[in-house]
Amino acid sequence: MKKSTKTLFNIIAVSIILAILIFLEMNKRKFSYDISIIERSMIYAVAAVAMNLTNGFTGLFSLGQAGFMAIGAYTVALLTIPVEARAGVFYVTGMNEFLSKIELPFIPALLLGGLFAAILAGLIGIPVLRLKSDYLAIATLGFSEIIRSIIASPQLNMITNGSYGLKKIPRFSSIFVPIALCCLCILIIVLLINSSYGRAFKAIREDETAAEAMGINLFKHKLTSFMISSFFTGVAGGLLASYMGTIDSGTFKITLTYDILLIVVLGGMGSVTGSILGSFLVTAGREWLRFFDQPLKVGSWQVPLFRTGFRMVVFSVLLMVVVLFYSKGLMGSKEFSWEGLVRFFKNLFTRKQKLNGGVSNGK
């Protein structure tokens, strides 16, 4: 495919997406449900791409996502809740004197949230990154649980409002704010992956010993990857706080990490576009499968099994099927390209032809 045709395709795709977004923004009331799905998908996509940076590209199996998201979310929430509203939020113990006067606009708060997450990741990473695969996983999982229980502890009531959670976090003013921020985050990660750092990360993933022999400082690169990933995970957490408007420590349970992990696996470890696709599929899939939760009648026959909770069972079975039979995920470690799309449709078509041919030969 020629470069000019590709650019044309790209421009068309971007303008279609923009047109859809503008259309949704104009009819905000009518499509609030769809808008919220798109926003959530994009936020999860940032977290998933960030996780992919450590897990898929650097080969470090880290499961601390929920903890870093919690840090980002709490930083953004604490700094952006309007000062007037704070007394109402901290109605139990009151807020810490010093903190209660600071209010920042959304973007600086978001950056600060990411920064805190990255600093903490650095502190954690120095001891923990020496561990190998599954030990690293369980240690980071442990850290995220520690962060969660510190946030929920009554000793921190003056700062995090303990187990009561935070409310009245300012929402996004329009759909463009989260989408633009998410796209920017993903773009930065992609640029990083394609830089010399990114190539070093991939070398570490393929073979640590060989990478070291080629002069790559293993520890420095692992720490860089871990910290950058945590920065963007923190940013995703901050966006999530603003998206939800209300957060508490229960939002950041291990389940959140698992959700993001499953998005990464579904999309394919080591594929950025795969993670984005996966996050839309998982988030929207949960909504599409909602009809499983309602009782269904065909004629006068009541279909068994259809009741509350069945949706999540079907969802987890589907995920197991993906894990077992398509262990490479949707995209494997490939990226989306127009050629790939064309080939995909061509293959579909030729396979059908072959099948038809096979049948006629059988006769």
Binding site: N55, F61, P127, V128, R130, L131, K132, S133, D134, Y135, A137, I138, A139, L141, G142, F143, E145, I146, S149, I150, A152, S153, P154, S163, T209, I254, Y258, L261, L262, V265, M269, R307, T308, G309, F310, M312, V313, F315, S316, V317, L319, M320, V323, L324, S327
Partner: protein, 293 residues
């Protein structure tokens, strides 16, 4: 804290630790053989709790307990066959993700079948009888748990060291491929390991839930993770180590709750884990790791 309350907390801690130890053994055995953190093990423990609720509703306890034990073992083996066996030659990350998937599936299935509301755990006769020693009072299960744990650990160690299947398990955990060349049926050894692990999880679940009184679909996930930590503390692959790890966690947690830091009791487990991994990554009784490049 007076001596009496101190002893009382010790008793509770040892009892909790015993239940943890039984689950931790399941982790340590599976990890020793497959190098897999079986995230679904904690959820299997929760399923065993539900099984008990339903069987005890229809049968007397001496029939219900064997049914629960056998049922849990069957579920454990089925999980291994369906979710782990197809991935035997896949990278370690995929099999671990499969384990997370199974854990999610079991939780969702339990929520669907039994709703998310906690269900009362039935009382098994004799287990709840209260004994009084001066100012100390404890139910029979509190005493039974540590004793039963130690007996089971002794039996496990004997089995691993003295029997033929134990020898096969040791061989498989040392070197997978060589063991296969020597004519050991890997699949049956792995199934046997899962069977033993599930059996111990079922016993642990009876002891644990008798004290806790209720089961919900998520009551297995955190204890599950903690028990893995216990296994790491004691040294992965070592059965007595898993027992000691379980007791350390159980006692530590009980005292933290008693001192008013109940929200930190979960954090304590993981702090202990990280410190242990940094100071002595092989655990208290672990073998020296031979890292293959």
């Amino acid at each position: 804290m007076s001596l009496a309350t101190f002893l009382q907390h010790c008793l509770t801690g040892i009892s909790l630790g015993g239940a943890y130890a039984l689950i931790a053994i399941g982790y340590t055995m599976v990890y020793g053989i497959l190098r897999l953190i079986n995230f679904a093990h904690g959820d299997l423990f929760m399923i065993a709790g539900y099984l008990m609720i339903f069987t005890l509703a229809d049968f007397p306890w001496y029939i219900a307990i064997p049914i629960v034990l056998i049922g849990t073992v069957v579920i454990g083996i089925v999980i291994e066959r369906l979710a782990y066996k197809p991935l035997r030659s896949a990278p370690r990350m995929s099999i671990m993700i499969s384990a997370i998937g199974v854990s999610l599936l079991l939780q969702n299935l339990a929520t669907y079948l039994f709703t998310a509301l906690p269900r009362g755990y039935p009382e098994i006769p004799y287990l709840k009888r209260i004994f009084q020693f001066g100012t100390l009072s404890a139910s029979f299960v509190t005493f039974l748990t540590p004793i039963l744990t130690m007996v089971l650990v002794f039996l496990m160690v004997m089995m691993i060291n003295k029997t033929k299947i134990g020898m096969a398990m040791r061989a498989v955990s040392k070197d997978y491929e060589t063991a296969e060349i020597m004519g050991i049926k890997i699949n049956s050894v792995v199934s046997f390991t899962f069977a033993i692990g599930s059996l111990l999880a079922a016993i642990g679940s009876i002891l644990y839930f008798t004290d806790r009184m209720s089961v919900n679909p998520f009551s297995g996930s955190l204890p599950g993770l903690k028990c893995f930590v216990a296994a790491v503390l004691g040294g992965i692959g070592s059965i007595p180590g898993a027992m000691i790890g379980g007791f350390i966690l159980g006692i530590g947690e009980t005292f933290l709750v008693a001192l008013g830091f109940s929200t930190f009791s979960d954090a304590f487990t993981f702090i202990l884990l990280i410190v242990m991994l940094l100071v002595k990554p092989t655990g208290l009784f672990g073998e020296k790791a031979t890292e293959k490049v």
